[in-house]
Symmetry: C2
Subunit: 215 residues, 2 copies
DNA sequence: TTTGACAAACCAACCAGTCAGTTATATTAA
DNA sequence: TTAATATAACTGACTGGTTGGTTTGTCAAA
């Protein structure tokens, strides 16, 4: 036992936990208000610590943000790598891509809104390292399409459009989740969706596009 | 001729033109930096007028923003209304929807980024009037899908997912245009795209989804 | 001479980041 | 075991700079 603490009360000092709370509060704040709209004071308040703690645990406001971005993209890349064993078919790799993004977006509620904003802003805050991870992820789609085409499983298609067809609807779906929850009452029940339905739909659309004939 | 002006020089006073410049500068600023990140001083400077002019011509920073949003959505709605005569087939209405958004996004370069951010933010800044216009646009997809299904032209599909499948890739494509232009050199030529290609692709994907069988 | 279009200067509020301390806990010494 | 010491974790209060918005006055045109 390394730390003796007063029985029945939470630890009053715990650097790792505090850092974690700051990180989570910052992610929520950035997702809801964007980098410029996010206030350090509000993040600290939500994490129940003094603002100075953010500067104790992180380099700066921009520093936390960069770390959140990196963590986000790394999570997708890791999940993707773990779900596509070498030798997977192009179809499976497309399916895995859809699922990896969707699952990670569901697990990290702030992920989609932050990514969407970053796209709107032209990736201003994305550092080299994070950019490399994203490029790596996107490259996998290019590779899968290319392989599918050369093995005659896929009709030729612009990989960038395939990208957008996967990433954009997923991000939009998960980013609008809070909005749709708020409108749940007024919303037609036919418009309510589960993650599974969304994954299945995007997988189906993407593969239809890649395999299908022109209508 | 209502205004006499010094020969060879631009009019020094022209309320309509000034207002227009402010409007355009504000749209660019909001698109590039978001509402919170946008600075009134920078907008005024870009419009080559004093900051006080923004408050002379508009109610407030939020006021200009609301007007830009309204103008944006109104433009899409108007174009859409003009391109779908009563009696159009569901297919044509889907095609028209794709084209209306794409054309208007191309005509107003700030449109996609602003819309994307607004989605990420849960429509915080969207007033009642604009919201009604958006709802009207989105309702047309619901109606087209419903009609297509009941006339056996379409396979049943969740209209919300069809929405996302249309709007999201289009917005993402046009919002990343500046980014892609910047990376033009490093980008594979195979990844370069024209508006026509994008429209055709999204139309094709959407109709494949609505007509196609499960792969 | 009146008025609409404009700018300089100003203000109060806000905000990222800092700093001089304070307190809880771990370590060491006796 | 305990007292003394060290230091990691933390806070309140502050600052310099920024920003949305206002006020007051100027100037061109009718």
């Amino acid at each position: 036992m390394t730390a003796r603490r007063r029985s029945g009360s939470a630890a009053r000092r715990n650097a790792a936990a505090t850092r974690e709370r700051l990180f989570a509060a910052a992610a929520a704040e950035f997702a809801a208000r964007g980098f410029a709209g996010a206030k350090v004071d509000r993040i600290a308040h939500a994490a129940r610590v003094n603002k100075a703690m953010l500067y104790y645990h992180f380099k700066s406001k921009a520093g936390v943000y960069a770390e959140i971005l990196h963590d986000m993209f790394q999570a997708v890349a890791t999940r993707l790598a773990g779900s596509t064993p070498p030798g997977s078919s192009p179809e499976d790799r497309i399916r895995a891509m859809v699922e990896a993004i969707a699952r990670e977006a569901e697990a990290r509620p702030h992920f989609p809104a932050i990514w969407l904003r970053e796209i709107a802003e032209g990736g201003t805050h994305v550092d080299k390292g994070s950019m490399a991870i994203v490029a790596g992820i996107l490259h996998q789609v290019v590779a899968a399409v290319k392989e599918g085409v050369s093995s005659k499983r896929f009709v030729p298609a612009n990989p960038l459009l395939v990208q957008f067809g996967i990433v954009a609807p997923l991000l939009m779906f998960f980013a609008t989740a809070p909005l749709r929850r708020r409108a749940a009452g007024r919303l037609d029940t036919a418009l309510q969706l589960t993650t599974e339905q969304v994954i299945a739909h995007v997988q189906r659309v993407t593969l239809l596009t890649l395999q299908g004939k022109h209508p």
